[in-house]
């Protein structure tokens, strides 16, 4: 192995910096040309529906199961804490607010990056390595319009819906644990929730969060697939990047959005 001199290390650092800036530029141009401009495709809606199925509908099981368990755990933990103050009736309010404001959008974003994001990257990367994207270009079809755009839109549309389903199932799971198993009075569980949850403050802000996460995670996933090195190592690296970058982006953006929506910064 050759040892690297200090100058070479500095040079590599600079190179890495330039690569990051170039990738950001490429990904922005990629996004703009995928979403805007004439597509010329006649079966666009059919392509979108197929992607809505594979990105959205096929992610439903993991979202429903995760939502159920998280709601149940929230109720259990909330009950244990609140009961020491004698206010276990507030458990419904706590479960609903936690899910709608935070865990619904965030956990859906993380699961979406892991389930649908990685699948999108691997699928597009595989199409690239088997020259299917080149082949589309040569047939005179723009792969950005035919392959990328429907996947982007499918991600944008399906993730906020998945986040809503996550929250609903989570609240239902919380009610099951708190009301049916731990014996919290049903009337106060639901009425406390109804009194404290605001539509714009809580529900709408959660929806805005999940829309932002949907945009960023799907963008990262399709770009990593399209930009990957067309080899098996390249595809596996790109898939890992999708999950890592996607998850970190969700968590980082969540803090910023929370600060803007609920904080007094």
């Amino acid at each position: 192995m050759r040892r690297k001199s200090l100058v070479e290390r500095v040079r590599l650092l600079g190179r890495a910096g330039i690569d990051v800036v170039q990738a950001m530029g490429r990904s922005t141009l990629f996004l703009l040309s995928s979403l805007f401009g004439r597509s010329g495709l006649r079966n666009g809606s059919q392509l979108l529906i197929r992607q809505l199925y594979s990105v959205g509908v096929l992610s439903l099981p993991i979202i429903v199961v995760a939502g159920l368990f998280i709601g149940m755990v929230l109720a259990l933990q909330g009950y244990n804490i609140l009961t020491s103050y004698g206010s276990e009736q507030a458990v419904g309010q706590m479960v609903a607010l936690t899910l709608l404001r935070e865990l619904g959008p965030v956990v859906t974003g993380l699961l979406f990056a892991g389930r649908a994001g990685s699948a999108l990257t691997a699928e597009i990367g595989n199409m690239k390595s088997t020259e299917q994207l080149s082949s589309l270009e040569m047939i005179g079809v723009d792969p950005l319009k035919y392959i990328i755009a429907p996947r982007l839109w499918a991600g944008f549309i399906s993730m906020p819906l998945l986040a809503a389903i996550f929250s609903v199932v989570g609240i239902w799971g919380g009610a099951m644990v708190a009301v049916d198993w731990l014996g919290v009075y049903e009337g106060s569980f639901w009425s406390n929730m109804q009194n404290s949850v605001q539509f714009t403050e809580d529900v709408l802000n959660g929806v805005v969060k999940s829309m932002v996460f949907a945009f960023v995670v799907t963008w990262i996933a399709v770009f990593q697939g399209y930009d990957c090195e067309p080899t098996s190592e390249g595809i596996s690296r790109a898939t890992t990047k999708t999950v890592v970058y996607g998850s970190l982006a969700v968590l980082g953006l969540d803090f910023i959005l929370t600060a803007l929506m609920f904080g007094d910064l």
Binding site: R38, L41, T130, Q132, S134, M138, G140, V141, D142
Partner: protein, 269 residues
Amino acid sequence: MSAENAYAVELKGLTFKRGVRTIFENVDIRIPRGKVTGIMGPSGCGKTTLLRLIAAQLRPQGGEVWVNGQNLPSLSRAELFDMRKQFGVLFQSGALFTDLDVFENVAFPLRVHTKLSDEMIRDIVLMKLQAVGLRGAVELMPDELSGGMKRRVALARAIALDPQILMYDEPFVGQDPIAMGVLVRLIRLLNDALGLTSIVVSHDLAETASIADYIYVVGDGQVLGQGTPAELKNSDNPRIQQFMKGIPDGPVPFHYPAPDYLDDLLGVR
């Protein structure tokens, strides 16, 4: 036939670099219309890159790529996609769409670019598949086909829109003798029957020489030689001789450049 019409593709002073590495330096290649032209050279010399330059999937740093009277590097993205309808390309892997069956793969260009009725598309697809001998495989999925069959389906798809120029990227790699024989015959047959211009990029000497009317040998970013297969066999250029006869050492050395062997073993730096 007028002079400018005699060539379907003309590369003039083409220069292409990847980073600091020069792949082609001031290359001139003319592909005669209606003929099968072979582009040969050792692995890694940029043959596939040349094909991608002709198809304008890559932009050269210098020079011109003229295809049917249009200089491709000067066209916009939309004009290029329109222009590419004149091309058919057979990729090394076949590049069939894995989520579509054989019928839909061949029908794909027709569905995208024409407004033909389903009956008409069905007839055309069956005719193209008949031409490559795979009409019986119409309902199979790509993963149910052998490597040779995939390439033949891809060939049927490449000729679906009746292109003027058909390009083959290493069509003979990894094929058994029967599949190879079928492909060799098909390339020649399709070229002559459909009046195409065919460009075959390959390093398989015997097969390419058996069907090509004219051959360019490329290497070191240059055109090393050109001529009919017979002319090249009798060439006195040592690099062409080494390539045509498959001699392991010569102008293209057997050893990758390395420091002195003895010094290296003794650890002298």
